[in-house]
């Protein structure tokens, strides 16, 4: 009976429920809702089990460069944008893939984590240029600068560092669901809303959720060229760096994990919510997640990159070096925009005017 001393909050209004000895139920003195004691115990447990939480990744990649590898690595830095790239001794870097300014080689490669995996480039530079050219064909408002052939030759292959997150997720979620019923009598329309507590617990596994590991690369730009097929990833080997640059990762697993967590959370929530049916409305009230068997690995992914400076602003084009998917936002050429606007306005106005005159619409 000591359990009855526990205070329960009204699911409807949050008021403290009181025990009503006549009905043996818990009653809300504020909104007059009545609840079964056992039901409230279950409800309280469900609420406690589904408090929102943050995922945290404890696993971290540990790979270290061997001394022979480190000896073959050439490191370049860009004085202009701070870009920090590495390549092998056979490849000479002259300009920064991020800003196009000259880079200088640093005397000694300063050690960092060694990538676990790499997806090799499948598209050549010529193929990348071809895709870029094709991409611009149906962009009437793109400024001419982006279409210059000479500029297209500036496209560079860069291995971008990514964190890859693997985990089995255990989740418990709670939803407030409603069923609505309406009826009428002579004077009134009635609407009854019945509220339900919906509890769901489940497991779901994620493989290689990517998250950008380079502060030089725009996270949204990198998400846009997804997906990468990790089945084609191979163990990292210095040979893959020949002819390409690799960015040194400089975003920690925790930091980049935050975005991956959000995506995992959204997918888990929608998978669980898809099992809730038969209600008028379903609102998520809380979700508690835990990671099991989680691991984060460090991986280099192939990206063709073209940087264009237009009116003092940098515009990035990125192409997935594995799938050929190409993205990049273009600015709008104000002159072309004004001309297009005026042309459409003039043609449509004239057509509507003539048509309405002939049809005597006004």
């Amino acid at each position: 009976m000591s359990d009855e001393l526990k205070q329960y909050k009204c699911p409807n209004c949050g008021g403290i429920l009181v025990f009503d000895s006549s009905t043996q139920n818990l009653k809300c003195p504020y909104c007059h809702s009545e609840f079964d004691v056992e039901m409230m115990q279950s409800y309280d447990k469900d609420v406690a089990e589904t408090t929102d939480n943050e995922l945290s990744w404890t696993s971290k990649p540990q790979g270290q460069w061997s001394q022979s590898e480190a000896a073959n690595i050439r490191e370049y830095v860009c004085k202009s944008c701070g870009g920090d790239i590495i390549t092998d001794e056979t490849t000479a870097a002259s300009s920064c893939p991020y800003c196009g300014n000259p880079v200088v080689m640093v005397n000694q490669f300063k050690g960092s984590l060694r990538p676990d995996k790499v997806i090799p480039f499948k598209f050549s530079k010529q193929q990348a240029i071809e895709r870029y050219r094709k991409h611009l064909t149906d962009k009437p408002l793109a400024p001419k600068a982006f279409k210059a052939e000479k500029h297209m030759q500036e496209i560079k292959g860069v291995y971008v560092p990514f964190w890859m997150y693997d985990a089995d997720v255990t989740a418990r979620a709670r939803f407030t669901a409603t069923r609505v019923r309406s009826w009428s009598d002579r004077d009134y329309n009635y609407t009854e809303t019945r509220y339900y507590n919906v509890f769901r617990g489940g497991d779901i596994s994620f493989d290689n959720v990517p998250a950008n590991g380079s502060s030089k690369m725009d996270t949204v730009l990198m998400e846009s060229i997804e997906p990468f097929d990790m089945k084609q990833a191979v163990d990292f080997n210095m040979d893959y760096l020949a002819g390409y640059f690799a960015d040194k990762f400089d975003i920690s697993a925790e930091e980049s994990g935050r975005k991956a967590n959000q995506r995992i959370r959204n997918s888990t929530a929608s998978a669980i919510q898809s099992t809730v049916s038969g209600y008028s409305t379903v609102t998520q009230a809380g979700m508690n997640m835990a990671l099991v068997n989680e691991s984060a690995s460090y991986c280099l992914l192939p990206v063709w990159l073209l940087v264009t400076t237009y009116q003092g602003k940098k515009y990035y084009f990125a192409m997935n070096g594995q799938t050929g998917k190409l993205v990049g936002d273009l600015p709008t050429d104000t002159g072309l925009f004004a001309r297009s606007f005026a042309l459409i306005f003039a043609v449509v106005s004239a057509l509507v005017f003539v048509a309405s005159f002939l049809l005597k619409l006004f």
Binding site: Y188, T193, I204, D207, V220, E223
Partner: protein, 361 residues
């Protein structure tokens, strides 16, 4: 022998008296002047005139100038006088009697048999209207006019139909070209251009009844107003009762350059905004990823635990909008109190009479 023959004749005479209406033998006068308003010559002239009309139509056309009504109501007095004095010809004892009560200064016309149909309520009222002015002193004129009118009314009833009041119903169905039922106001004019009625068309339907003796009268229906969207319809000429479908054509104003220009400009502006918007959207291809659905291990989702239970319910109510009563179509009205035909009453003898009269002359 003679005695027996005399007896037989007596029996035959009695039998004849019983079988043949005694009036046939008695030859009751059709012009009776109890009051003495007429000279003998005048009585004889009236008698001849009434006799001629009576014989022409096979009914009794009677005129009585009474000193009083024996204290009876003039209606009962007239009916009884006709019934108990054996007036009326044929099995249904058809006839008409004009009673002028010199004491009560009232007049009344009672009809029986075929005459009930020959003289409608409207007919009797019209005859009363015509005779009434004579009662100021010219009683011979009154009876003479009475005989003429009886001739005229019975002739009309036998050769065509009884003179009565009729309605010509003018009915209008009003709709737009698009089939929409619309409202309108119409005026009705007779053949002389005199305004004699109105028709209000509500939701496409409207009529008026025009009181007339002439079921073939010609009318002009002219539109007073309709919704400004529509052109005013032409006047319609109709004959008698008529149902008319009017389809309204939309009124066409000259092209409004200001409105047309503004709308065209607006359309151009919207098209240009949408068009350049589409062009601009082509420049955008970088999009953030919301979920990690692509990286879910196929078939890895496993629901371990589920429970759904009812918590509480809330009921709200809102007042229903009151249904507003809609007045429904139709229009028009009746001009007089006549309904046409002949109304009847039953006299003290049990016979059915029609009739009508005037008070105070």
């Amino acid at each position: 022998m003679m005695k027996r023959i005399t007896k037989l004749f007596t029996i035959l005479a009695v039998a004849l008296m019983v079988c043949v209406p005694w009036r046939a033998l008695a030859q009751n006068a059709l012009m009776i002047d109890e009051y003495g308003a007429l000279t003998d010559t005048q009585i004889a002239q009236c008698e001849t005139q009434l006799q001629q009309v009576s014989d022409k139509y096979g009914v009794d056309v009677v005129a009585l100038i009474a000193s009083d009504t024996d204290g009876k109501d003039i209606v009962d007095f007239a009916d009884d006088y006709f019934d108990y004095n054996g007036y009326g010809r044929g099995t249904d004892r058809s006839g008409i009697i004009l009673v002028i009560d010199m004491y009560g200064r009232e007049m009344y016309i009672s009809t029986r048999g075929l005459c009930i149909d020959y003289f409608t309520d409207y007919g009797i009222e019209s005859i009363a209207d015509e005779i009434y002015p004579y009662l100021a002193g010219d009683f011979e004129g009154a009876v003479s006019r009475y005989a003429q009118l009886c001739d005229y009314y019975m002739n009309a009833a036998i050769t065509d139909k009884p003179i009565d009041i009729y309605y010509n119903r003018l009915y209008i169905h009003l709709s737009g070209e698009d089939g929409k039922r619309i409202n309108g106001h119409f005026s009705v004019y007779d053949v002389n251009g005199v305004h004699i009625g109105n028709i209000y068309v509500d939701h496409g339907e409207g009529y008026t009844d025009i009181l007339t003796e002439d079921t073939n009268a010609v009318y002009t229906i002219s539109c007073d107003d309709v919704s400004s969207k529509y052109a005013k319809p032409e006047d319609i000429t109709v004959r008698g009762s008529a149902e008319y479908d009017i389809t309204m054509t939309a009124a066409r104003a000259p092209y409004d350059v200001m409105t047309g220009g503004a709308v065209s400009g607006g359309a151009g502006l919207i098209a240009a905004l949408i068009g350049t918007g589409i062009m601009k959207s082509k420049n955008k291809s970088v999009r953030s990823k919301y979920d990690a659905d692509r990286y879910v291990e196929r078939g890895s989702f496993n629901l371990r635990d589920h429970r759904d239970y009812f918590l509480y319910s809330r009921t709200s109510r809102s007042a229903r909008p009151k249904e507003t009563e809609r007045s429904s179509g139709g229009g028009g009205g009746h001009g007089g109190s006549f309904s046409g035909g002949s109304s009847t009453h039953t006299s003290s003898s049990g016979a059915t009479h029609g009739g009508g009269g005037r008070r105070g002359f």
